[in-house]
Amino acid sequence: MNGENTSQKNYEILISRQQLASWVEGLRENFQLIGPVGVKDEAEFREVFSFDEINPGYRSTMLPPGKTFLLKPEEEILSFDITPEGPVAKEPPLPHQKRVLFGVHACDTHAILYLDKVFLGAFPDPLYRARRENTLIISLNCRAVTEFCFCHLVGAGPFLKAQSGYDVLLTDMDGEFLVELKSERARKLFRIEGRPPEEKDWKRKEEMELELLKSFSKDFRADGLREVFLSRPDHPALRETAEGRCLSCANCVMVCPTCFCHDIYDETRVSRTGIKRMRRWDACQDYSFARVHGGNFRQERQARLRQFVFHKLDYEGQFGVKGTVGCGRCIRWCPTGIDLTEIAKEMMK
């Protein structure tokens, strides 16, 4: 198929930083632009008004871009008007804001693909779906990793290998940017003349990745965990970490880009004029998370920590991929530095 070949070539273009900047800024005409902005030594995804605000060399953010912008921390999923005939359900207006999420790292892109499996499965969530459809995802290969990162061990980075489910993949080639267009709409939006990448550029990209791979410090074997996990669910490594260090504060879950758990609750005011059915990020580390009449399936702190560790590192059967993308946020933001990879290593010993 001749046509496809030629166009495929055009899907990969090298452009200058300046060109990228003006393209991205141009997108603002129709899209709200969200990108990583440096805040102290951390970055944060927020709305930006010019490309200069964006820090393309950022290493990580506390809150993940996908979960934060696609599954908001808290939102109304339904409301009820109180009428003489009783409450009448009202759907919230679907979000229509068109958005660009710029600079999404490989791990966070994988996390969005994971969230898709949850929220676009048998029962698609209308709000998530609307946001997802309205959001252009411009991914960005990492140029630096943090001491907490382990994406390389779980196949989620540092360079993005997924071929679909997002729109653009950028690689910072020291001043020039390699642009790989991954969706039809990206192809429509991207009309910049650039230089087609040559063999040496691809090679350079490969080298960059190899170089980057050397800078990871985390190291554990992710396969073979299943047997250990299921045979020793009360392994001392889990027990001791849970009792000695875990605060049940749920920071790990909150910052996790794939943690999708949420609570649903009805908010009613004293006036009783209307009711909002809300959803809010929830966490399996909360002691009430698995409580039912007559008991709590994860009454013990150890059980809750185990749920997190197993769900991230094992339970691949759930969606066919691991629950972790190796972003390292749960390690970075755990007040006592609990490290699921260390727990796994301990258990594998």
Binding site: L247, C249, A250, D286, C334
Partner: protein, 255 residues
């Protein structure tokens, strides 16, 4: 049924105060957003702060009780309130955890009393501070010092709708993260009590760059030793750590 019929049931409520700053009572009056509706929805049979004519012995659908029990007569009153009330919620850290009035329980109480009174000391009838739950069954806790909006509203709504309340039961960190604050404990090494403190305030302190001082009290199953360890690693002395955990939860930790 609460919504389908036009007629509105006006539950009879009482607000009672023991030893405290009356802040919870005021929080109800600070409740601008819902004050008017609250006054219209409830028949306040007893609310000393707002009315000079209450009937202490009235039978109630809802009793809200603030304050720590620090006098024998309060314990007697509390039992009476309990007997008269279908639902009794403890309101505020004083009533739930002891709060500020219970700091005293952490020291030599007579010494502490002596510093405030010399002559009158022998006439005082103060007893060791204790929480409502020590004397009566409490149907729910509206936490905070002062209580947060959500739980306060939930307490009132639960009675209006005649259903069980669902109060917030997770850490301040959860609210802090949802606000997107960079963690003070992790990033700056400030001794923040957020990880063990029950949420409900909206993570006020961390949002204004201050370490949480646990005014909402410890959450259920708080891992106290683990956070103490963490504070030790940050270089806090044993005394400094102890103080942080006994500001609002002195009673729980003494036991």
């Amino acid at each position: 049924m609460p919504f389908s019929s036009g007629e509105k049931w006006r539950p009879r409520a009482g607000f009672f105060k023991f030893s405290c700053c009356t802040g919870c009572g005021f929080e109800l009056a600070y409740f601008q957003r819902s004050l008017e509706d609250t006054l219209k929805s409830f028949d306040f049979a007893f609310f000393r702060l707002a009315s000079s004519s209450g009937d202490f012995d009235s039978l109630l659908d809802l009793a809200l009780v603030e304050g720590t029990v620090t006098e024998p007569f309060q314990a007697v009153e509390l039992k009476k309130i309990r007997k008269n009330s279908a639902v009794l919620y403890a309101v505020g850290s004083c009533a739930i955890a002891g709060g500020i009035p219970a700091i005293k329980a952490g020291g030599l109480e007579l010494e502490i009393e002596k510093r405030a009174y010399q002559k009158k000391l022998y006439r005082l009838t103060s007893i060791r501070p204790s929480v409502l739950g020590d004397y009566v069954k409490v149907d729910g806790c509206v936490r905070g010092c002062p209580p947060g909006r959500h739980d306060l509203e939930e307490a009132l709504v639960s009675v209006l709708l005649d259903r069980k309340p669902e109060f917030i039961e997770y850490s301040v960190c959860v609210e802090c993260k949802m606000k997107g604050n960079i963690c003070l404990l992790v990033d700056e090494g400030l001794p923040c009590m957020g990880p063990v403190t029950n949420a409900g305030c909206g993570a006020l302190c961390p949002s204004c760059h201050r370490a949480c001082y646990s005014c909402f009290g410890l959450m259920g199953q708080a891992n106290i030793p683990a956070l103490k360890d963490k504070f030790r690693q940050l270089g806090l002395s044993g005394e400094e750590i102890e103080r942080r955990f006994t500001l609002f939860d002195g009673l729980k930790l003494k036991k």
